[in-house]
Symmetry: D2
Subunit: 341 residues, 4 copies
């Protein structure tokens, strides 16, 4: 059930609706938009009687939701959401570029990478302190020490930190240091982790699972929103197919598919899809051209020395050229004058 408020509804009108929902024992999710506020109801085991709301002041409509998801849907919020990360806006016609090494390996490597990311004019830095690795014997990240290095990077370069949380207990620790909590592809249906992320008060970057359908991706985001955290950024990073010329098949078509149903911003991760450096830039261009709100890419000052995923990390100069190309393509897609960018 979605309660759609009239354009002229007052904050008091909204509060009154929320109060009724809570008195019924359910949870209210007020989602303010440019023209009107919608209030989603969750926690109701049975359909809610619209009669409770129809005559309340300021209520325009009470809509039965027929899709499997509610809060992520354009029905709940017809305008696209913009996620604010300490002043950097993700979505809303901006081009977000999140860059950094696969993992925090040392203070030196992390600072060196952060330096050229900042110089390229980017404001969002990615690096893993906790690494979910296929093998128990692979480097699992520096852990808390890594988080502390990332906090230093924020202080030193003014970059906002995007880093991964791997279980509910760990998420609490990561949330103390990170600006954006990343949930990796392998954890897209780790529902305990999604609920914990929903209870955190930091934006969440949610990567599509390697075999996740569109509905499953949207419902994973719904798990986060249903807990009250509405700052969710989706991310396509390649899916498993028979194709053997690429590590994962970047499914750019999910971007317009998401945008037709859902108000959340969506990024593309060309690095994990490509697996090889020479394909990263073309795939990043494809991601922005298809309409994504930005990219998340791996860069490394000395990829041949990286402890994980070195072959897919961009070299500094490739990264700078890519950023320039992406900005020009983004301008075309968003039909602004290149001269004004």
């Amino acid at each position: 059930m979605l309660i759609v408020m009239k354009q002229e509804a007052t904050p008091e009108n909204v509060s009154a609706v929320v109060r009724v929902i809570e008195e019924l024992g359910y949870r209210a999710h007020a989602l303010p938009g440019a023209n009107r506020t919608a209030i989603g109801i969750t926690g109701n085991p049975e359909p809610v009687d619209p009669g409770y709301f129809e005559n309340l002041p300021g209520v325009a409509d009470a809509i039965r939701v027929t899709k499997p998801y509610k809060l992520v849907s354009l029905d709940a919020r017809p305008e696209k959401s913009v996620v604010d990360v300490g002043g950097t806006r993700i979505g809303g016609g901006e081009l977000a570029i999140i860059a950094g090494p696969c993992a925090v390996e040392s203070r030196e490597q992390t600072f060196a990478t952060a330096e050229f990311v900042a110089k390229a004019g980017c404001t969002l830095f990615r690096a893993g302190a906790y690494k979910p690795r296929t093998s128990p014997y692979s480097f699992q990240g520096l852990g808390l020490e890594g988080l502390k290095i990332l906090a230093e990077v924020r202080d030193r370069f003014g970059l906002k930190i995007v880093t991964e949380a791997i279980d509910p207990a760990n998420l609490e620790v990561v949330a103390e240091y990170a600006d954006v909590l990343q949930i990796g592809a392998r954890n897209m249906q780790n529902f305990s982790l999604l609920k914990a992320a929903g209870q955190a008060r930091k934006p969440v970057l949610l990567k599509r699972g390697m075999a996740a359908t569109l509905d499953e991706l949207l419902l994973a985001a719904e798990y986060v929103m249903a807990e009250g955290n509405y700052s969710v950024i989706l991310c396509e990073r390649g899916v498993r197919t028979f194709a053997d010329h690429t590590r994962n098949t970047l499914d750019v078509s999910i971007v317009p598919a998401v945008q037709r149903l859902c108000h959340l911003p969506i990024l593309v991760d060309p690095s994990h899809a490509a697996g090889k450096r020479h394909k990263v830039v073309p795939l990043a261009r494809a991601g922005v051209a298809v309409g994504a709100d930005g990219v998340i890419v791996e860069v490394h000052p000395q990829p041949e020395r990286a402890l994980s995923d070195g072959p897919q990390a961009l070299l500094p100069e490739m990264f700078l050229e890519m950023v320039e190309e992406l900005r020009r393509i983004h301008a075309i897609v968003h039909q602004r004058d290149v001269a004004l960018v």
Copy 2:
């Protein structure tokens, strides 16, 4: 590194090797076999010098492991492992049949199902108390109350309980009630959960992820074993493909592929693959015929009333016929005389 002991090595010889490994700061995993014991070493950041072991009494060989996994491998244990669940053996030429409803829905439904599972001569009962569901708005299981009902089922019918754990904190609770800890397909690469399962002292049933390769499945099992829990049962439950005539494509070919590399038993779950009742029995037969050590299937006394996955649950009479067919096929695969079964 694997230290292979001579056939005539004494327990003291094994202990001495373990001691050296631990003094080096690593972890020793003694895997006794029919003819010899092998001792796996984990926790070593660098290759270990075989010189530490070669001259110890009882040591036959120190083998460098070149595959990505060590403890799950036939190199570590050339005989197939048998997992003992309170007297029922999984693997080792036995046919394991784990049956029960998708979820514990009520005491009545659970008892009714348990009764005919027990009557069919089965000793292993499956039912979820914690259900990982694609939607946050779907029934999520009865939780602790469900576990308590399962404990009653064990007391009343003598069935051993197989039930799912969904995160590390939850696993501790589940381990108090369950005989086998199930890790679901969506959590196959939830490495925190795998580590927690490795620290538990209960057997683990590990389902293959929907897009997991053979190596990824074996490495997920390796995560559990590397923590010291060697009672792991693998399970194929269907993978994601383009095919739209089935919910998931049951990949029976992974059974001989696993058996060629790994000593752990492997089951097949035809219910989640099929999605529809009429395909469950044929797929169960295929699973046993391809060589699996058994099946895990969903049964329900009144599937039309099930809160989850009703359409795939077998009716009692179908289940009984299936068990009979599976026993006869299993006997052929294992080349015993049907007359003796």
Copy 3:
């Protein structure tokens, strides 16, 4: 449109309906069954008015077909079809075993293989004279010379010949020599070839394409039947998935899915799916256990010398053991007494 005749309808009644259909300018396909004959109509650009038929003598019903296929459907023929190949029945509760080398390489190799196939009590021999190969530089088969060797095999050992046709012109030549015309997976949607096969008067073995859905497979068979050839045998041979432990993923679940919709017999080809000999026997067992009407397998007296697909060819003794196992499993699936087999 399907015209279903009454059980007591006479051949004259059937002829009268066929005549009306042909006078309308359409094609009539009379499909006699155990209890009644159905007459499928094809070639009609628009739906046919049932009024033309409803009052003809012997007509029970005129049914509008809503599925995309007509003639392959159980609506057209509720009993399973049996394809007769010179006395050997495929379908109808029989276990068909088609065996032979990948390709005819020489008279000696073909005769040696045929000899042990015949000794195993099999009556159907497979071998390619025209080989569709991924590379233009691979061995493309002996062509006409190969067909002549196959004709000799038939004369010498009494085996029926199953061999592939690769284009419409070629099919005419192959049809002169073969008992069953094979259409390979890569040609499953080579519609010109399917039409040519429909005009031939020999049974057709149609392999599922590597990415074909159930509907596409059935519609490919419909192409053959729509041309008047009703002797079609389907064959699952593995599909393309992400799985890297097998050449193709044998999708055993398509067998019960086909059987629920379609009256044609269906075989399983474990050799092309497995790619490796040690998986062929387990997959063949799975195919028979899931309910397939038989298997088509590659055998070779000296696989290490084979010009194509040697690693997947069974050795003679493996083949003999497999045949014995398959017969016993088939007996269980078809619920006959093992003692009587």
Copy 4:
């Protein structure tokens, strides 16, 4: 074997090498490049002795080919090939846009579509006269009548005609009317058709099969080239995956993968991948952004009346906007000044 000629080699030197190859009974394929000519040898059952060539005048090197393909490879021709279609160049830094309806349905519809394709400044027109359809009961194209309409379109609008051939006999007819012979995805491994296309003297547009690997695509092109037709254009049109939000998953990553190995131009077909109009433009942009040499798209003046694939056909105004966007993105990818385009 590839014979690489010196930069200063004369035409007589090349002819002499060709003569030696032919005297050995093999086929010579002279592939002239910007800086040197390479001569591929095919038809040799065994490796060729380089000694035959090393001392001939003008020969720089005789290279053993280790990849499965020879003539498509950058080893044979280090510069990208440009396919000339009556003055329009495909490849070589040009942006090719091939547009038109799925099928020729009538003279009126075809002319109406051709008119706005020509007005948009495009010179390549696509439309099917022979349609490979999944169902035998679907519209199969106007056949020869359709080809004649297409010939009229060429005369009237100066557009070059791209149209599909479906079997070897049909290809001869199509080649009389078409400027480019299209081979559809379902026929990518119809080797008889590929050989026929290789013997034609018209450029070939070869679509990637729905489950074709990179190697299989390149080897299909090799089939055409090995017959002496070196004007081959590749095309990605989406592959089969589990994803259900799109008809096929457009695999943009194959574009840079092809370009790293092969000198042939490659296009992207967003229409068949998308299945729905609103995704066609974003996917076309992604295709050009990833580096493709152009796109092939379906347009229709009245898509709601189309006999096939209406929902994916672009409306005229959407097409015009798309062309403009694609030109600007192409300019960025090829690093020319937008102002100069």
